[in-house]
């Protein structure tokens, strides 16, 4: 891919600073001291608030500890882990989560990219359009969840009211197995399509014009141009956005809590929601910790992927 206007993130200025003035010994010392002084408070906070709790959770994950029952924690070693990994209940939640993550991310990617593409082809009113499209993304999941719950209400909701006006059947959006999960996906898509759109738009506007001009001269078809010029240039950026959304969707809790609280039955219970129940309904802290550690492992793998693509994007 020959890209004369790279999508790099780092400033080109840093190349020029490759030959700094020769430093004196004392300055080196003070630099080192400065770096330590500047970095360590932040790292210490993260150690205290992220690493330490996770290590604690790791320890508890090998025990049968319960936060309310008190009493000493007994080591059960890997029993929590094997119980979780072999539990049909957990497999069910994993499948639900997978469907949810894939469904939501695919839908919002397609929609977000479409909107970005359409906006990028307009010359007027783009600023306003983009700004308006971004509103859902800024809302709190609580607000989004509550309001959609109201709109999707089978009896009093505006969606069914509109369907009724069109002469269509009422739909039980939140109380049927298929529709409830679908509704969850739709609401998440509504909120996060703007995110994909924003990033796709950034990619699309960066595609240099002359590439298209050259293609025009070649009389290349529209689809051909899209496939060979637009997509390859936007794809790396889009991939970042997709992975980012996948991580976020995997972590999702609030929307489920408010929109369906996992129902009907347990058909919209995601892993996050299940781990909450284990942790706070039965206060099976040991099991919940093991469950959490497994989820963290998945997040770390996804984050690794994300960073790898990010680095690739930067190096291109």
């Amino acid at each position: 891919m020959s890209d004369p206007v790279p999508l790099t993130t780092d400033h080109p200025g840093q190349v020029a600073s490759a030959t700094p003035p020769a430093p004196g010994g004392s300055r080196r010392l003070s630099d080192r001291w400065l770096a330590v002084a500047f970095i360590s408070p932040a790292l210490l906070l993260l150690l205290a608030m992220s690493v330490f709790p996770l290590l604690w959770a790791l320890y508890l994950s090998f025990t049968d500890y319960s936060a309310t029952r008190g009493g000493a924690a007994h080591f059960v070693w890997f029993e929590n882990y094997t119980a979780i990994l072999t539990s049909a209940q957990v497999h069910l939640r994993a499948l639900t989560t997978l469907i949810y993550v894939v469904g939501a991310v695919v839908l919002q990617t397609v929609l977000g990219f479409t909107i970005a593409y359409l906006i990028s082809r307009r010359t007027h009113g783009r600023g306003l359009l983009t700004t308006l499209f971004l509103v859902p993304m800024m809302l709190s999941p609580v607000v989004v969840g509550l309001f959609w719950r109201f709109m999707l209400d089978a009896q009093f909701g505006v969606i069914n009211s509109m369907l009724g006006s069109l002469g269509l059947e009422q739909v039980e959006w939140l109380t049927r197995q298929r529709t409830a999960l679908f509704s969850l996906i739709v609401v998440d898509t509504w909120q996060w399509t703007p995110f994909i759109m924003l990033i796709a738009l950034a990619g699309l506007t960066a595609v240099p014009k002359y590439l298209y001009e050259a293609a025009s001269i070649d009389r290349a078809s529209e689809w051909f141009r899209f496939r060979t010029i637009t997509l390859p240039l936007v794809w790396p950026l889009l991939l970042i956005a997709v992975l980012f959304r996948a991580i976020e969707a995997f972590r999702l809790f609030d929307l489920v809590y408010i929109l369906t609280s996992g129902g009907p039955g347990v058909s919209t219970e995601t892993l996050s929601f299940h781990v909450y129940k284990v942790a706070f309904l039965g206060f099976n802290t040991g099991t919940a910790s093991a469950y959490g550690i497994l989820m963290v492992l998945i997040v770390i793998v996804l984050t690794q992927l994300y960073l790898r693509y990010l680095n690739k994007l930067k190096e291109d």
């Binding site: 490759a18 150690l47 320890y59 009493g71 029993e79 094997t82 039955g265 347990v266």
Partner: protein, 472 residues
């Protein structure tokens, strides 16, 4: 990197990381091991200790609903007359968050409330963990236990749980009744007639007839949600009415008891006879949705907690009439129909003293409870919109005239049955909620749902510690 030459190495942060990590690991182990508290409820004194003269705020925790505001207003108006230096604050949390909010604070061994208003079923968990005071001696000395229906007194305080309809006088008491409650049947007099259906079968056919005669109005409205104890109470009620049992408390057996023939019949009635008469999409309804359906004139017969029904008479929220009288011309309130038994669900909550609140506050809490359980105060509480528990207050005109559903409550008292009151309650009710909800919404076959409930609940009762993977 930018300045490779200038700075040779900067390994300090990393070394620090390792050091800190080691230190924290150590701290973790110590902290976790130091968490040993021989769990048994501390005792409250028999006599109320001397009360403070300094200003004091007595805090309750409850969930957000009208009785919470009623209690705060009532206590500040009446209790202040006796104790001018005390202000009562009723803290509220969302219903869905109620159990979590109380028990996370209990787990923290620090509560921002002095009196926890626990559901009867929460007592087991709180007592086993030592979260609330043992009031046995206090009650003996300060409370006139003969003034109560024994089961009502036991339901909100006794642990181990009382047998339905009885009180075990040798068992300890951990709470006193605050607000009694049960389900009432709410029916449209203008649509099905003045006389309420007497049996469950009659009720179903009346609803069926009403629904077919009144397009746009559904026959039934009841709790189906998978949160709180919504769908579970609904099933338990039908189960009781059809002669089923939730469990055998003595042998701790659920499997084979809950899902016996009577239990299966109850599930079948609920899913195949009652559910088809409800509004489309009502599968996530709880208190407020049922109220909305009634107020909007969308249900012939509805079931709801009495304490949550007051709003139905508010003309501002209702389309049934412009005045309270007009609404009452259309809405009737009755005790639940009977079938094989006349059981009704026990609702309501008791007052329980937090083991972690300050001594002065615990003393004040005891004093408040003693004050609250007096005959005249109970009558005033009834007049203020509360549901008392003393028999004299229940039969007083102050109570019976305060709301159209109050007679329903008074009549229901001898018919009540509670759920399991065990430390595993939260897990048990979640299993039942999700499965009944699944059955009601077609996500599971009724029989499978009931068998799953019995199997999973039995597993929870049987697995007490020592094994990994508990709570899945």
């Amino acid at each position: 990197m930018r300045y490779p030459k200038r700075i040779g190495r900067l390994s300090v942060p990393r070394r620090k990381v390792q050091l800190a990590t080691a230190a924290m690991l150590l701290a973790t182990t110590m902290a976790a091991c130091g968490q040993d508290d021989g769990a048994s409820a501390p005792k409250a004194p028999a006599a109320i200790p001397e009360l403070t003269k300094d200003p004091l705020t007595l805090s309750f925790i409850w969930f957000e609903w009208p009785p919470a505001q009623a209690l705060e207003a009532f206590a500040n108006a009446e209790y202040k007359k006796e104790r001018p230096n005390v202000t009562v604050k009723v803290k509220t949390v969302p219903n869905a968050n109620w159990h979590d909010a109380m028990f996370t604070q209990f787990a923290a061994h620090k509560t921002d409330f002095d009196i926890a208003i626990l559901d009867s079923q929460h007592i087991g968990e709180a007592v086993t963990n030592g979260n609330i005071l043992d009031l046995t001696d206090f009650v003996k000395k300060n409370i006139d236990v003969k003034a109560y229906n024994p089961y009502l007194l036991a339901a909100y305080g006794q642990f181990p749980q009382a047998e339905t309809g009885k009180r075990d006088e040798n068992a300890s008491l951990y709470g006193l009744p605050l607000l009694g409650d049960t389900w009432t049947m709410i029916y449209r007099k203008d649509l099905i007639g003045d006389k309420p259906p007497q049996t469950w079968d009659e009720m179903i056919s009346a609803a069926e007839k009403c629904q077919s005669e009144n397009p746009g109005v559904s026959g039934l409205a009841f709790h189906q949600a998978n949160g709180s104890d919504a769908a579970a109470v609904t099933y338990n009620t039908v189960n009781g009415v059809y002669g089923g049992n939730l469990w055998d408390a003595k042998s701790r057996k659920i499997e084979g008891v809950l899902n016996d023939a009577a239990g299966q019949e109850a599930m079948d009635v609920l899913v195949n006879k009652m559910k088809p008469l409800t509004a489309k999409g009502s599968g996530n309804w709880f208190i407020d949705e049922v109220n909305a359906a009634v107020a909007q004139g969308k249900a012939c017969i509805a079931f709801n907690w009495i304490a949550a029904s007051g709003g139905l008479l508010d003309p501002k929220e209702s389309t049934l009439g412009a005045t309270r009288e007009e609404i009452l011309g259309k809405l009737g309130f009755a005790t639940l129909p009977t079938q094989k038994t006349n059981l009704v669900p026990l609702g309501g909550m008791g007052m329980h003293v937090s083991a972690y609140s300050a001594e002065a506050n615990q003393a004040e809490a005891l004093n408040f409870m003693k004050w609250f359980e007096q005959a005249d105060v109970q009558k005033k509480w009834a007049a203020a919109g509360g549901v008392p528990s003393r028999t004299d207050a229940l039969q007083s005109p102050e109570f019976l005239n305060a709301g159209p559903f109050n007679k329903v409550y008074a009549d229901s008292v001898p018919r009540m049955r509670d759920m399991w009151n065990v430390p595993e309650y939260a897990r048990l009710v979640d299993i039942e909620n999700t499965n009944v909800n699944a059955a009601l919404n077609g996500a599971k076959k009724p029989k499978d749902a009931l068998d799953d409930i019995a199997k999973e609940q039995q597993r929870v009762l049987d697995s007490s510690g020592g094994k990994g993977g508990g709570g899945l």
